[in-house]
Symmetry: C2
Amino acid sequence: MTKAPEKNRIRRKDRILNAAEALFAKHGFEGVSMRMVADSAEVDLALASYHFGSKRGLFDAVLLRRAEVLNDLRLAALEKCQAEAGGNGPSVEAIIDAFLHPLLGEGLQADEGWLHYFELIAQVNSSYEWGGQLMTKYFDPLVRKFMEALKAALPDAEPQDFYWCYHFLSGALTLTMAHTGRIDQLSDGAVKSEDMVGAYERMVPFMAAGFKKMCEKG
Amino acid sequence: MTKAPEKNRIRRKDRILNAAEALFAKHGFEGVSMRMVADSAEVDLALASYHFGSKRGLFDAVLLRRAEVLNDLRLAALEKCQAEAGGNGPSVEAIIDAFLHPLLGEGLQADEGWLHYFELIAQVNSSYEWGGQLMTKYFDPLVRKFMEALKAALPDAEPQDFYWCYHFLSGALTLTMAHTGRIDQLSDGAVKSEDMVGAYERMVPFMAAGFKKMCEKG
DNA sequence: GTCTATACGGCGATAGAC
DNA sequence: GTCTATCGCCGTATAGAC
């Protein structure tokens, strides 16, 4: 009676996260002010500080929220492909597919929030200031599980070759998520940055061929 | 007699560019203030605005300065490998090598300024705000020449496959230039982000294998 | 070309009323 | 939880002396 229902409290906090996610994706951490977030979320300026403590706290909350979901989806995909494989374990193609396919499934590519999140991750991954620290914190525990599966599929791999190969995959993937529109122009419209399905269909065989070239004997 | 020599005028402008290059590489455009640049260059605050008009003007000047040099180096490498090839033109490996090798040669990897520049390009390439516009402006005229050479080496390539392959190469390369330190941690020290020679030696065969897998018939 | 001084607004964060 | 008001700092840019 006197106040908006509980539902509204939740909504405001999430509205702040959603607005911040979209703005950080487009302009980066330093390019966004708390005032921009509050205006975009149609919420009072002080509320963002109240809920998240500081601008940096808000940024971390944005990164963490979907990292947990994405890590769960990827882990499930890895375990599924391992269960379906025979005693020798899944192929390189199947493991890379398990790494990439969750980005497309479950309606993620139809969800504006997820698209903003991927753009943000792309920026963070290539940032000198944050790339090492934040990607390691949020994603490497899961990535190590994929590395173990890949090692089993590529038993002759030298560690240096192997980790550089993953690094190339990571760079290609994050640039794809950035949706910068550059490839649209370079290809004179033949390729669309937004076509994540097209990128995925090519990335799996491309990366698998690279891994095998570098990590298999003979 | 009354003033510092001509030499000093040049030095101050270049000191501003060098300081700005280093700071933009570490913190991004929005994360750097004109005051930080002036302090780092040991130059008066007003001087940067005088020489470059605005912060954005300074940013563009930083990007342009080495883009011209790098494009010239890469074009020379492409023409050299084409001259050395027979009538069928250079191989995919040779073309990718001509694209990557100039980043290592000529002492660029021993030059702090060039290393900062590469970190900056890495950030720009993955940025939603600037990736499409600035990379296209500064690098695509040259990249189109490499695309023509690759088309000749891969006559059966479908445009969509072909441009996605270049996109993967671009993403892998720019993440490598970012020197974020993530791969160091993930590999438990087996790989060093700074080891550009090690990255280059693996990137050429890796990417060539991917291009061939996706762009050759059969 | 260089420096001093400053205009003018946006910044993150918080105190305190409700 | 929410909003008003505000503090003190830092941002870019420029006017004008030298």
